[in-house]
Amino acid sequence: MIKLLTDNWSAFISGFGWTLLSSVLALFFSLIIGSLFAILEVMPSKVVRVIGNVYVEIFRNIPLLVITMFFYLVIPLYVVKINGFTAGTIGLTIYTSAFIAETVRAGINSVDSGQMEAARAQGMTFWQAMKNVVLPQAFKLVIPPLGNQFVNLVKNSSVLAFVAGFDLMYQGNAIASQTFDTVNTYVVVGLFYLVITLPISYYMQHLERKLA
């Protein structure tokens, strides 16, 4: 296994780098987009609520691979040329954002409605009350499920392998098929994923303890 690792070190590391980059980008954007749609889902206006709901229900209920393939194969045919890495990261972002939206919405809903009413009575606008009163409490509540989503996101980034996104899984497939050392290759790939996911798990636990 050590030999396999040293022989293919540069491939593993570049795969690790692309996986990390894709995960970080998708995590950042899906958190923003997800939170936005969560707020849309609790807006007073019914039309806006429906828009938020439709987005979440569509992308939460389509397989990630289908979304990614759509961006990799269909969008370049009619709209704009995008490579595998970008298509994968966009797919990952959209897919995860739907889950994050649901998680954050649950958090917002579990904040007592009196909080919002009191803030509004103080003269705050909806957005001010959301930003300063409701969201800080909501995020504290949803840290554990958000952590789950982040870990899932990193693992789901293996979808990049199917669209030639040069990530860990892609390199793993290529190495396994060149060396025929299937078992060891995927063990190494699994360990590399742990290097990313374990710190996230522990950081989220730490955050939970600190804020709770």
Binding site: L73, A164, Q178, F180, V183, V187
Partner: protein
């Protein structure tokens, strides 16, 4: 103290995981005598391609495997085990075929696999049953006329096929994208993710038949003798396959199958692959 214990347990769990995973894979079905088992069950399980027109393709209408390799496997099975024997098919990809053979899910691979020295280290091959050559498929009217034109461009291949390694020798400055199977590789070529698709000429010919906007270009730049993959240590089985292969060539079955599948494929001269 409690925290330390937790970390320790995590460490132990992961170590155990690694040890079990590296430990397995040495003893399996594949170490038993495959020919004996097959004689008893009167079936041979072949690994065939599901996405390669003319060679091994699963017809979406009836779910049956069809192609030259499928028919050849059926003929070989009858020669090896008798007229009442059946050939069972498991669909494989370039990537999964060797692992599936090694763990005993299939008895033999007849799935567009070229005999290469690297592969010979892991598995055995029966004598070649088909002579293909690597070529490229491009959109009609493309500026790419031969493989050397691909320097600086993007080539699409399939993960696990040796064509992706080969093409790097002929166009070292090209970027190579490896996709999971031929169907996806072709779709990626159509949506402009790459400038050319490379693999063996027979496979590309099959694609050109069903996609008139695309054509093979340049001459084949390698020779790819296809071989039936067999597990190491299965000497009896290998002997039986080679014997059956000789018989189907001698009685004309082989050439009949070649005519049936490649007789009227544009851009592919079937006479070159006929055998006496």
């Amino acid at each position: 103290m409690k925290k330390k214990l937790k970390y320790l347990s995590l460490l132990i769990t992961s170590l155990l995981l690694v040890l079990t995973l590296t430990g397995c894979g040495s003893q399996s079905l594949s170490s038993q005598n495959v020919l004996e088992n097959d004689k008893k069950s009167k079936t041979i399980t072949w690994g065939v391609k599901a996405d390669t027109k003319l060679l091994g393709l699963v017809d979406v209408k009836d779910g049956k495997e069809k192609g030259f390799e499928v028919d050849l496997a059926k003929a070989l099975t009858k020669k090896m085990l008798g007229k009442d024997a059946t050939a069972k098919f498991v669909t494989v990809t370039s990537q999964s075929r060797i692992p599936l053979l090694k763990n005993g899910n299939i008895d033999a691979i007849i799935a567009t696999m070229t005999i290469t020295p690297e592969r010979k280290k892991t598995i055995d091959f029966a004598n070649p049953y088909f002579d293909a050559g690597q070529s490229i498929l491009v959109k009609k009217g493309s500026s790419v006329k031969k493989v050397q034109d691909l320097n600086g461009k993007t080539i699409i291949g399939v993960v696990g096929s040796n064509s992706v390694q080969n093409v790097k020798k002929f166009a070292p400055k090209a970027q190579v994208l490896q996709l999971p199977d031929y169907a996806q590789a072709l779709t990626a070529l159509k949506s402009g993710q790459g400038d050319a698709l490379t693999t063996d000429n027979v496979i590309l010919a099959g694609m050109a038949v069903s996609n008139p906007g695309y054509e093979l270009t340049g001459k084949a730049f390698t020779t790819e003798p296809y071989g039936i993959g067999i597990n190491k240590g299965q000497k009896d089985f290998k002997k039986a396959v080679n014997k059956a292969l000789k018989e189907v060539q001698a009685d004309g079955t082989y050439n009949k199958l070649i005519m049936k599948w490649f007789g009227d494929v544009p851009g592919f001269n079937y006479k070159e692959v006929l055998r006496k």
